[in-house]
């Protein structure tokens, strides 16, 4: 694997180049609330040692609201007009491994038969520059879902902070290799020795639970009362789904633009909302919060894996950190694992 070196100054110059070339450069905002595109290299934030932002960068690949087509009523006929996503490269800088994997994981559902061109166009235009993560709190559990603070899979290019001023840089994918070519002047040759030493110092937390055991338990314990505890305090907001880098459930609704024209929108939606599965007849297959919470766990740890062999979770812990009532998804999974072991 090619390894290079880049210092902070050159990284800044690289970002300036990218901005001059009219690419979107996206990094975490200073307050760690979300991610935003910057217009100045001085605003670059690489948060390898801090808490993940409240909300992931998912909204750049899967916007929280986007028009899938516009319709105009012209003389008893309807004219449907599409607006493709902009042909603009998006470079995400400073993605922890728990963020970097999100595009790959979501890509499975958006391509398993019919291909969602909106998602694919944006995914194609994305370059993910990941970074080795040296943060850990009680909500993190990347190692339980097959990741680690130093996983390179998911990034196109992976940065390893060597010290305050220097990063080692590893090219992970062909896309990353292609991208780097234009900016060779900013890199010097690296050696794996220095980066290896840094990586070895990064604490790899112990696994909290075994996802296969969790999946098996869910398969055989659908009606179990375990979900009632979370259901009794869950307030049914969408924080967990919207903060998550891989939750992708959406709603399709029509909106007006004017009297004769409108647009059909694809919006973020959450299985925790009471109306999510409500039929027009009034029947709701998931008519209480326990059932809705069960759906969240089952979808992430079982259904998605059944279909795509991926866990729909990267262990970033955002949902737990941000839950207004302190429901911790890792703790629920641990409880399930414990239950599975006792069986």
């Amino acid at each position: 694997m090619d390894e290079k070196l880049i210092n902070a100054e050159n990284l800044s110059l690289l970002v300036s180049d990218l901005l001059n070339e009219k690419h979107l450069v996206i990094c975490q905002d200073e307050k760690a609330v979300g991610w935003k595109s910057i217009n100045d290299a001085g605003k670059l934030v690489i948060n390898n040692a801090g808490v993940p932002s409240n909300i992931s960068y998912k909204e750049f690949i899967l916007p929280k609201t986007e028009p899938i087509f516009f319709f105009k009523n012209e003389k008893e006929n309807f004219n449907l007009v599409e607006k493709d996503p902009a042909d603009q490269k998006m470079i995400f800088i400073g993605a922890k491994p728990c963020d970097a994997r999100s595009i790959e994981i979501m890509s499975k559902v958006f391509n398993w038969d019919y291909k969602d061109k909106f998602f694919n166009k944006r995914a194609e235009n994305s370059i993910v520059i990941g970074v080795a993560c040296s943060y850990q709190d009680e909500f993190c559990f990347c190692t339980s879902v097959g990741l680690s603070p130093v996983t390179e899979k998911g990034s196109d290019i992976f940065l390893i902070p060597l010290n305050e001023e220097n990063y080692a840089l590893r090219i992970v994918t062909d896309k990353g290799k292609e991208f780097i070519k234009s900016y060779e002047k900013y890199f010097s040759d690296g050696n794996t020795g220095a980066s290896k030493a840094v990586l070895e110092k990064i604490n790899i937390p112990a696994k909290k639970f075994d996802t296969l055991k969790v999946k098996e338990w869910i398969t055989n314990n659908f009606e179990n009362k375990l979900f009632d505890e979370a259901g009794s305090i869950c307030i049914g907001c969408g924080q967990c789904a919207f903060a998550c880098p891989v939750c992708h459930c959406f709603d399709i609704i029509d909106e007006e633009c004017s009297y004769t024209c409108g647009r059909r929108m694809k919006n973020w939606d959450a299985c925790q909302f009471g109306q999510f599965t409500l039929h027009s007849s009034g029947h709701n297959p998931r008519n209480n919060q326990s059932k809705r919470y069960r759906q969240r766990i089952a979808h992430k740890f079982k259904y998605y894996h059944d279909k795509f062999e991926e866990i729909l979770c990267t262990g970033c812990g955002r949902c737990s950190r941000g839950c207004p009532v302190g429901i911790d998804i890792a703790k629920v999974a641990e409880e399930i694992n414990l239950s599975a072991n006792q069986a």
Binding site: I68, F69, F71, N73, E76, N77, F78, L80, E82, V109, F110, W112, D113, Y114, K115, D116, K117, F118, N120, K121, E124, F222, E223, H248, C249, F250, D251, I252, I253, D254, E256, G262, R264, K266, D269, C271, F276, T277, L278, H279, S280, S281, P285, R286, K291, Q295, A298, H299, K302, Y303, D306, K307
Partner: protein, 279 residues
């Protein structure tokens, strides 16, 4: 990479509107684009997403048979925002259509066998497509029996076709209304569908049963079928669930790890028994 917009519907013109009951209509639709019309193929049991632009989309089965390709039909009951808007439309108006989605009735497996169709209320819509499919290929099937019931005479849908089926000599058609739902010159049966099925006592040997209707009707008819000797894998029904994308992405219609829009809506009772109680 595919550049088609999977969420964009085809434009359809409403060619005919039939008032089935006080709250149910049938639309006959034709593609406005000839290419789309030519390329459109579907199988009985599949569904589509029908749009009223500005209001939204609604999920209905394609109620016409694939053997009649010049048009498609859908029947819907007024229950909410989109269906209320659909009701207000007239012949010549434009709506959107996305489809066909989902799986289909096992027509090939049914060939050479007897077929028993059971439907209740608007549940006749998804069965109608397979009834016409089978009738249009009549010689490939053995005995055909249709048992259909609704709460009252005015709730019966496709009345004109019920008449046609009753007049045919090559199928047995039994129509029933709930006690109290008959009209003065009613010449059909009076009784709930499960008891009329029991009364009709169709043979289960080499027979596939297709049943659609309100959950309570299905709940009480399945034991009757089982008593008559029908195996669970030969009882076919449809599930419906709230849908939006229709293509397995929006994450809404799943029952356990089964997506009704992709692995359904057609299921055998044997499959349904395996599903978690989430529908």
């Amino acid at each position: 990479m595919c550049s088609t917009n999977i969420y964009k519907p085809e434009l359809m013109e409403i060619k005919d509107i039939i008032d089935e009951t006080a709250d149910t209509k049938t639309f006959r639709l034709q593609f406005k684009d000839n290419e789309a019309a030519k390329n459109f193929k579907f199988r009985a049991g599949q569904f589509g997403e029908y749009s009223v632009f500005g209001e939204g989309e609604s999920t209905f089965c394609i109620a016409s048979s694939p053997t009649r390709s010049q048009f498609i039909e859908c029947s819907f009951k007024q229950v909410g925002k989109v269906t209320s808007s659909l009701r207000k439309l007239s012949i010549g108006d434009t709506i959107g259509f996305r489809g066909p989605y989902g799986n289909y009735f096992p027509v090939e497996e049914m060939k050479g066998k007897n077929v028993l169709f059971i439907a209740g209320g608007i549940g006749l819509a998804p069965v109608r497509c397979i009834i016409w499919n089978v009738l249009d290929l009549r010689t490939e099937f053995k005995d055909i029996t249709i048992v259909y019931g609704a709460r009252s005479f005015s709730d019966l849908v496709y009345k004109r076709e019920l008449k046609e089926w009753k007049e045919r000599k090559d199928i047995k058609t039994v129509v029933t209304v709930d006690p109290g739902g008959e009209v003065p010159d009613w010449d059909g049966e009076i009784g709930f569908v499960p008891s009329i099925v029991e009364k009709t006592a169709p043979g289960s040997e080499n027979t596939i049963a297709i049943i659609c209707g309100p959950p309570i009707m299905i709940k009480f008819t399945i034991p009757v079928l089982q008593k008559l000797g029908f195996k669970d894998e030969n009882i076919i029904t449809t599930l419906e669930n709230r849908m939006k994308c229709g293509v397995g992405k929006c994450g809404r219609c799943n029952v356990g790890n089964v997506y009704v829009c992709k692995d359904g809506p057609v299921f055998s009772y044997a499959q349904i028994k395996e599903l978690p109680q989430e529908y």
